[in-house]
Symmetry: C2
Subunit: 271 residues, 2 copies
């Protein structure tokens, strides 16, 4: 590969943020499978002097269940290292007095246990997957269109992801459907929202130029991180497609075959 | 009502184009119900010296079955007077050598009997209603994303419509979902496509300024007709909402309570 001189991977680098699905593992039946070399790569990062956080738009499980799943796959990860949209959304809802109608996956519902959901004055959608039925979408639409000032929160804005047998539409597609039907603009909580990336940087106590994001999603991971002043590297696993390398608006600071290669290059350049 | 001086409703008017759902009838169980006064209003137009055509984005039934439904509701309408997206799409597909993957309502399938659907090189979506399942949307998405140059045709671009118990998402919302996921722009066949309106004008042998469109959809009926140089009037039935009367980009040439009132005003101004 040609990207031997990644900017931002030298001495100034102090922290790495990893996307999870498509970088650590591929989703699918039975919790998915680890991507070869990624378990070892996480170990190497943890053994280095770099800080490490995980940043996911996963919204099918609450964080506890999600981290348990990754542990079963062999990863050394704890809940406090993982940043996901649902807890961020709960904070926003409470702060601004919103009572959500939820269109999310069943596994995510516990995250919203502490939120008042009576007489909804907004809608929150996540990657509801097979719960994105015609009926459920109409129901969410009717709540929105019935509000004086419709407000839609979307847990992430992804276009699609790899799911076992192929690609599947992600929450961003359904967000666009509701935006168009209701003539509104959704508020994205999660990647690529700058607020979301900033909360991870704050947790590490780092400036944007001291951190590197590694993801398989060119627009949401790489582009989102770059918009915050971080460097962004894309892996050729997960939802990566060759056309990403000639995208019209986003150019990764580096492109590598997988996380294992990325980590080897980062650590090699630091010595 | 205040719109006593509709532009374009004087002597120069030679033809009227009527939207159907929400103007003639409200959809719902058992084929829906005629909107009060609309059967008589169609009769009056037919008895006048004005030409009359019907222009619908209905894509749940083929034209024969759709016209039969309206006849059962009491309307004097024939198939040759009705313009709908499916036949227009079939013409485009054949002309340009496209073999569609169809995501349409079962009742519409007969319209595509003559079209080669093997080894699809495009996707056609209509208002598939409860066939807009998570599985079917993913299937259409996978066909598109697997094409070297993805092409999506949408039978209409409506946001939502009134369905018995409430509002339901229309094909335009699902079109936006696929557009976003595949990073493409769909080709809309049907209202508000200028090509579609022009085909109706051609059939009447009229210039745009000689024709008036009456619909319940501000953007697709009224705005679409205005973009072609016609006048557009909105009725306060069907999917009409009070906020339409202060829309940011489309202003109807007139707004009336229903078709009966529109026809009475048109005919009165001609005498």
């Amino acid at each position: 590969m040609a990207d031997t001189d990644w900017p931002g991977c030298g001495k100034s680098l102090k922290g790495v943020i990893l996307d999870m699905c498509g970088v650590l593992y591929d989703s699918g039946e039975g919790g998915g499978v680890a991507i070869p070399g990624s378990i070892e790569a996480v170990k190497k990062l943890k053994a280095s002097d770099l800080q490490l956080r995980f940043c996911t738009n996963e919204t099918q499980l609450n964080r506890e269940a999600f981290v348990d799943k990754l542990k079963r796959l062999g990863f050394d990860i704890s809940v406090s290292e993982v940043f996901s949209p649902a807890p961020a959304a709960v904070a926003v809802l409470k702060e601004r007095g919103f009572r959500p109608h939820l269109l999310v996956y069943d596994g995510l519902l516990p995250e919203f246990d502490s939120v008042d959901k009576t007489n909804p004055n907004c809608v929150v959608i996540g990657d509801a997957a097979e719960k994105f039925t015609y009926q459920n979408l109409n129901e969410a639409f009717r709540v929105l269109i019935g509000l004086e000032k419709p407000v839609l929160f979307s847990l992430g804005g992804g276009r699609y992801y790899k799911e076992g047998d192929g690609l599947a539409l992600d929450v961003g597609a359904y967000m666009k459907a509701l935006e168009y039907a209701c003539d509104l603009k959704a508020e994205v909580v999660g990647k690529p929202s700058p607020t979301f990336f900033q909360s991870v940087l704050n947790d590490m106590g780092l400036q944007p130029h001291e951190a590197l994001m590694i993801g398989d999603d060119l627009v949401n991971d790489v582009g989102g991180a770059q918009n915050c002043g971080m460097k962004g590297v894309q892996v050729r696993t997960g939802k990566y497609r060759p056309s990403d390398e000639r995208h019209s608006t986003v150019t990764a600071d580096g492109t590598v075959d997988d996380l294992a290669q990325a980590v080897d290059m980062i650590l090699k350049q630091r010595h």
